[in-house]
Subunit: 209 residues, 2 copies
Amino acid sequence: MLRNGFALFLPKENFMFEALFHYFEEKSSIQLTAEEEQQIRAVFKPKKLRKRHYLFEEGDICQCAAFIVKGSARMFSTDKKGHEHIVRFGIEGWWMGDSESYLLGLPTKYTVEMLEDSDVLLVSNDDYQRLLSTIPVVAEATKSIDKQSFVSNQNRIAASISMTAEERYEDLIKRYPTFIQRFSQNMIASYLGISPETLSRIRSRNAGH
Amino acid sequence: MLRNGFALFLPKENFMFEALFHYFEEKSSIQLTAEEEQQIRAVFKPKKLRKRHYLFEEGDICQCAAFIVKGSARMFSTDKKGHEHIVRFGIEGWWMGDSESYLLGLPTKYTVEMLEDSDVLLVSNDDYQRLLSTIPVVAEATKSIDKQSFVSNQNRIAASISMTAEERYEDLIKRYPTFIQRFSQNMIASYLGISPETLSRIRSRNAGH
DNA sequence: CGATTCTTTGAAAACAGTCAATCTGTGTGG
DNA sequence: CCACACAGATTGACTGTTTTCAAAGAATCG
């Protein structure tokens, strides 16, 4: 059962769209019509990105957001001393982009690097705004995503001022257990705002429990 | 020039609503109609809160958000050791509330304490959702507020993992210069996630420049 | 297998936290 | 108007934690 004629010519990309449709329907609890699916296909551009490649780089003005169908990425800033600090990770079913840059038209302070060979769907901010105002599923899903990300940002801020490095690490394990298997300790340390050595010592200290 | 008949009977509260209308119009760049103003008046409840009084307390399930017309507040969490950590401040034209609690119906982890005698306008989440779907000005203003708060949360997270205490303090002075005059150093330190002594030493170190 | 990257460990230095004492400014009541 | 109390800010000495630098030990990949 194919959802439309294009699938005959683009079987691989079709599988990517299916992931996106499923995502929108799950987040909104509403079904997409064939017509709506077509509108979405028209604006999302499938792209394969190899490990270590950049989605965008510090200084770019981001016009696009990327939906990760497969793979993972890190978004980081680089300070004056050249040290990188991971602001957030992205995995399947997550979005990567810098809203500050594409909402305000400013050059981004961040770089997004793929951590595995990945499949993403790119969409421009303008196109997404149009979908949002015409497709209720997209509007609902977006509301739900915005809520979630607001809450998780709020919690991350609270964690950063009220918890020790050790507590933040425990908290991360609880919230995102897959991160620990999937990302190197260097990356986890960078995400927590501590040095890799400190993270290593926290882990060995807590090995007994 | 009075905007409607109620003003004759509620001169003080009217002034509070004027502040709210002005705020919505400024954030959305659209004018409110008399009809819309009436709908807004119907759901926002003016309230005076004295210094040191609580808007809500840890454990409450927040049904309301508060728009600050005059005064200021701090929102803080209390850790296991009984130490308070300020998550955010509120001043005139800002909102106070815990979205996590009122969006998800969970008891809040935060307490909001007024730092001065204050005038606020309370609105329930349900009422606000209704305004949002019927009044374009409110919808636009809310979008713009959400954007801004998303960006500022993002920046705060980046600051907390990539900057030293000293840099975070400099950053705060740049972003919110009024905070330094308005809030005690104990509070600023709590907001930055450092001890009051450390903040005092940072300040004296930097007094030369 | 060699090369590279990631992790662990050690020791010293830098940094922030705690506790206690002092200093400053404010406002109150005598 | 002064004395006092109180809260906030500063300073010093000490403690504990984290960073840094360096080196050695795993793990991974071509």
